[in-house]
Symmetry: C2
């Protein structure tokens, strides 16, 4: 018996790009349909997608790489994929049942066929907004947790600088650092974000980097004693200025370099000799490697949220048709807080 | 009773510089004298200097820094200081006696007054050439030991690349890596040095970077599987190319950046995004921090040398008057092996 065909809008990635991503690099297709059932023997599942996550790393997937990159390139002409929160509508996999809420790698579409359900996380706590599983309770939260507590190896009283500090990861890193008793300064790209950092997230100081013509002088003003920990989300000119202002035995976690992702050629960084002189550990990480620790993390962060220790701001856009603009806006810094797209609320 | 005045030739640092150091930035003074005795109550000592070490970090001391650097700037108009091997001729310090052989920070002069004898290391094993204590048995040896075994955290079978590989540090790093069962490639700036790497130091491969127009292609050819460990002595363009060729979870020890020290403005490094994508740990160190571990190191390396496991090549220049040219030559890559200056053989 053939299952019913339902409409399945989707956003297609048109073709590989160089330079700045544009909305027209993506296209909404409204004519597709999907059967909400798989062949009897299939161990896959079908999910109804609720919330899509817009994440900086996605830009990398839009360029064609000669050699395999740390995440696979998108397939030109196919649906965009990204992390998201979904409800299982059909499962041939023993660990999942229709009705389960999950998060994992889905298509930018109303329904996705999932061939690797074992890569999905089950959502156990549902007394938070489900959208949180694209951010504080999902990959960006784990990124902040591992990146700060492990890669940065923080100590009480240290001087911490966070760039892109109001973003999904940055806002959490700053709060983790405050909870640990560090002095925390954040940078962001608008006065609204700067206010948010100071008023909502309890950063000691914050500045709008777009208004600072001399980042070295700005950092010297905020960190007269120097920086122990830099949580780098942006790379480029900010990283270059930070290197001049690090303290001995400082640590830089290379989490992201969003300022560079849309450039035809990356900016040069000139001050690397301070890696030696200041005995700096500059360490990159890819959060995929730490996914096995997700449940450990989420238990801890849920406890922190429940105790009112951690706050969270997200920027929701409604409708799959607005997803391309939301993703492009992320690289322009138009979002305030975690950028996500609502396809359906349940 | 006044002690005898003896002549004391010395090399003066004339004034702070930018750009490439020249012999004329230093001056030999032959008119000075010194008393080989200190006031009764002084806890210092007087040493007769035998061997001077020419080390890349010395260039940093020739530029004026607004803020304290990791080593103090030279004093314009005063004697150049550097590491060297000396014989104690007078001691007011209970731990040292006339006749002791030591190494530590001395002046580029025939005799030095030492106000901090406690910073000196006693030379216990004298069945090696004393000059070795400027290199394999001194600071550069410890640098190779700590930089490779600790900062690079090597594992058997890994792919290791060493730049400035025939230098004081590089030649030892390559041999340490071979002893550990790694695959080792070195770069150097002449065919003579490349031959030395392969024939004497047992590197698996080596290349003359001056003959390689495309360093990325060169590294791809030598490391088709990528690089696990890069022991960086040069920085700049080589570092930039290495970043493209690192393997996941690779390690880069930032030991030196000699290609950059004499530039008015350092070169940009453009490929730092691979620090993230390849999960690289890029870590700087300053060997001064590890001086307390010197005797641990020297015991091990002496055992390795005695067993014939480690070879060593040095480049000796005779005469204090030739020290400026030797130091300048270091930055031009004219030395083959550890560059040092002989003032006196005993």
């Amino acid at each position: 018996m053939a299952a019913e065909l339902v409409p399945n809008k989707k956003v297609i990635f048109k073709n590989y790009i160089t330079g700045f991503v544009k909305e027209t690099d993506m296209e909404l297709i409204t004519s597709d349909t999907i059967q909400l059932k798989l062949p009897e023997e299939s161990p896959g599942m079908i999910v109804k997608n609720l919330y899509l996550s817009c994440d900086p790393y996605m830009r990398s997937r839009m360029s064609k790489h000669d050699e395999p990159s740390y995440v696979p390139d998108f397939v030109a002409g196919s649906v965009i994929s990204g992390l998201g929160v979904s409800k299982v509508v059909y499962s041939g996999h023993p660990d999942f049942s229709a009705g389960d809420l999950v998060w994992g790698m889905i298509g930018w579409e109303e329904y996705s066929v999932i061939t690797n359900p074992e890569s999905f996380f089950k959502i156990k706590d549902t007394d938070f907004p489900l959208s949180y599983y694209t951010g504080i309770l999902g990959m960006p939260g784990l990124t902040a947790y591992i990146g700060f507590y492990e890669i940065c190896a923080p100590k009480k009283g240290e001087y911490v600088f966070v760039s892109a500090a109001s973003g999904a990861v940055g806002q959490l890193v700053g709060q983790f650092a405050k909870l640990m008793g560090c002095y925390v300064v954040g940078s962001a790209g608008s006065d609204e974000k700067v206010n948010l950092l100071k008023s909502k997230f309890d950063f000691d100081e914050a500045f709008n980097y777009k208004k600072e013509p001399d980042l070295n002088a700005t950092l010297k003003r905020h960190f007269p004693e120097g920086i122990d920990i830099y949580f780098d989300n942006v790379g480029g000119a900010m990283l270059n200025a930070v290197l001049l202002n690090m303290r001995s035995h400082g640590r830089i976690s290379a989490c992201g370099m969003i300022s560079q992702y849309n450039l035809e050629k990356p900016e040069g960084v000139y001050n690397l000799v301070f890696i030696i002189m200041k005995r700096i550990r500059f360490e990159g990480f890819v959060i995929l490697d730490y996914f096995p620790r997700y449940y450990e993390f989420v238990e801890k962060i849920i406890s922190d949220i429940r105790q009112g220790k951690i706050k969270y701001v997200e920027d929701q856009v409604e409708g799959l048709e607005n997803a391309p603009a939301a993703l492009v806006g992320l690289y322009k810094g138009l979002n305030v807080g975690k950028q996500l797209v609502v396809i359906a609320h349940e």
